[in-house]
């Protein structure tokens, strides 16, 4: 039999080329944050400067959106952690009538395009005359973050051996003590990973948010406005770097928390 363990050259080249296609564009964001040219996207940059970081720091219009984004991301992560863990605890090992429908319902907010979730919430607010507020943004974000926590938690629940729960009960712990001292420590890193991913997703979300924010501005909405009507273009790059790092770090942490198992975080978004 012919040994087939070396990939054909064309495959190697196109695979690595594909990976480069996925990564090189992001690097340009970093480069353009240092350009001296603030009116166009001229390449190569006519000169390099670090002044835009100071300019961005002193721009008063950046801080309120940043706070709002952090607040919404933190709150929706907490809500998703609670609701997602409850779902996962109920669904991991049970079979009951309507189970498939419930898992579809959990996945639907992220399976349907964001514009449908956004437009649906917008319609509901319109019908019920609910004014836009931080809470209306939060309702959208929490809804699509539940599935992220759920996916991470349910995989860990399934891997968790049932016998340690029984052992805990045999030793006299009640259900709440078992949860606190046995289940939660085992679940910890999966929940942390799920929470990190949910935070990253919420911090960066723009499509649903534009429908539920009204006049408020989160950091992605601020960025979107700058993309449509730019002023001081390199400042947008500085903010883009901040957004990139704020989402990148939690994702890497989530990966390292769960790697090696059959449940590595981030396999599905």
């Amino acid at each position: 039999m012919r040994s087939d363990n070396r990939p054909p050259l064309i495959l190697t080249v196109s695979a690595i080329g594909g990976l480069l296609f996925l990564h090189v564009p992001i690097l340009l964001i970093f480069l353009y944050a240092f350009t001296t040219d603030e009116r166009t996207y001229q390449f190569p940059p006519p000169g390099l400067t670090t002044q835009w970081f100071a300019v961005a720091w002193n721009r008063a219009d950046i801080w309120p959106p940043l706070y709002l984004s952090l607040k919404v991301a933190a709150l929706s992560t907490v809500m998703a952690l609670i609701l997602g863990t409850l779902c996962a605890a109920a669904m991991a090992r049970t079979r009951f009538f309507g189970r498939d429908q419930i898992s579809l319902l959990i996945i639907l907010p992220i399976a349907l395009p964001g514009i449908i979730t956004g437009m649906s919430l917008r319609s509901a607010f319109s019908i019920m005359d609910i004014p836009f507020s931080t809470w209306t943004i939060l309702m959208g974000h929490a809804t699509f973050c539940i599935v992220i926590v759920f996916n991470n938690a349910v995989a860990r629940f399934r891997r968790l051996s049932g016998s340690i729960v029984e052992a805990s009960m045999d030793l006299g712990a009640n259900g709440f003590q078992t949860f606190r001292h046995v289940i939660l420590p085992n679940l910890g890193s999966a929940l942390l990973a799920g929470g990190m991913l949910a935070f990253a997703l919420s911090f960066d979300e723009v499509i649903v948010t534009t429908f539920t924010a009204g006049q408020q501005s989160t950091l992605p909405i601020w960025m979107l406005n700058e993309l449509v009507r730019p002023r001081q273009r390199p400042v947008t790059n500085v903010v883009a770097i901040v957004v990139f790092v704020t989402t990148f770090v939690p994702i890497l942490i989530a990966y390292y928390l769960t790697r090696g198992g059959s449940e590595t975080a981030g396999g599905g978004k």
């Binding site: 990939p7 996925l22 340009l28 996207y41 109920a90 514009i115 319109s126 994702i251």
Partner: protein, 324 residues
């Protein structure tokens, strides 16, 4: 000496024969143990209440709004059941938007298969150890990293004074670029205002969604099948075409669900990179915002749902859900 036991110390308390009852926690645990369904309902009550009220409630509101209409004189929403808003979708201008969006979704899906397959195949079959981790991270990080940052990066790349123009000038290929831009329909004044540009950005942003399920399907192709195919005299290309590709098909369909659905529902990419011709997402956004025509916006938003339901029904028959 009289051996009299102190009754208060030795006589077992009949109620606490096994373990003393410690309070509410114990009693609740006992109820949950005897009636698992009570536990199930308690756990699911809160999240289900949220999802049903907030999410399903909103989806119902969307459907409801799409059956309302707008009064052409006052601009107020008339809250009576009518199909006239859906009839408006059939106007040529609106049909153009729908056809354009579906065509773009199909083109993006096709492009994602072509570019994604080598990556998925290499990662599933040849990458080992550190390379495997590198490939996984290499696909997962772009999947999760900021959507807007990715779109912005392409605005920089495709701009008329940007890196592509610089590179094509540098290698003396600007005639080729101008030739491509001069093409009818897909061309334009610059890459950032043409369909080619829009397509490239869509492709870039949704590509990881295609690679991951494709890779999952390819990892499940048993090595023995490839060996059998080789033993029976098939060339590499024949093995690829008749064995690997059909087995990867469920993964490709699963990935195409994402690329298709995400392209149809996006309104930001064509707004930032593209010609002024609108897609469904932009129509929804403008109609609910500046135009204030929420019923028509809702009807437009129902279109992707219907298309995806049809698509999912076909995909289910092809067994694509096993690869998710």
């Amino acid at each position: 000496m009289v051996l009299t036991a102190d009754p208060s110390r030795t006589a077992p308390d009949p109620k606490g024969a096994i373990l003393p009852t410690r309070g509410l926690g114990d009693r609740l645990s006992a109820v949950f143990w005897r009636h698992p369904n009570v536990l199930l309902v308690t756990l699911l009550a809160l999240p289900l209440l949220w999802l049903v009220v907030v999410y399903l409630g909103s989806l119902t509101a969307l459907l409801l709004q799409s059956f309302y209409s707008i009064d052409e004189f006052s601009g107020q929403i008339r809250r009576e059941f009518t199909l006239s808003t859906y009839a408006e979708l059939l106007r040529p201008a609106n049909m153009d938007i729908i056809i354009r969006t579906v065509a773009m979704s199909a083109a993006v899906t096709l492009g994602a298969v072509v570019i994604g397959f080598p990556i998925a195949y290499f990662a599933a079959r040849y990458a080992k150890g550190h390379w495997k981790a590198l490939f996984y991270l290499g696909v997962m990080l772009p999947l999760w990293s900021s959507y807007l940052v990715k779109v912005y990066a392409w605005k920089l790349i495709l701009a008329r004074e940007g890196i592509i123009t610089w590179a094509t000038d540098g290698i003396g290929a600007s005639a080729v670029l101008n030739g491509i831009l001069a093409l009818p329909v897909i061309g334009g004044t610059s890459l950032s205002t043409s369909y080619i540009g829009t397509w490239l950005v869509f492709l870039y942003v949704w590509l990881p969604y295609m690679i991951l399920p494709m890779q999952a399907a390819l990892e499940r192709v048993p090595q023995s099948m490839l060996e059998a195919s080789s033993d029976l005299g098939a060339s590499r290309w024949q093995t690829m075409r008749t064995v690997i590709f059909p087995l990867a098909m469920p993964g490709i369909i699963a990935g195409s669900i994402f690329t298709f659905s995400l392209t149809m529902g996006d309104y930001i990419i064509p707004q930032i990179v593209g010609s002024s011709r609108r897609f469904i997402g932009q129509a929804v956004y403008q109609l609910q915002g500046t135009a204030g025509n929420i019923p028509l916006a809702a009807a437009f938003a129902v279109v992707p749902i219907v298309i995806m339901l049809i698509y999912l029904t076909i995909a289910r028959r092809k067994g694509a859900f096993d690869a998710l």
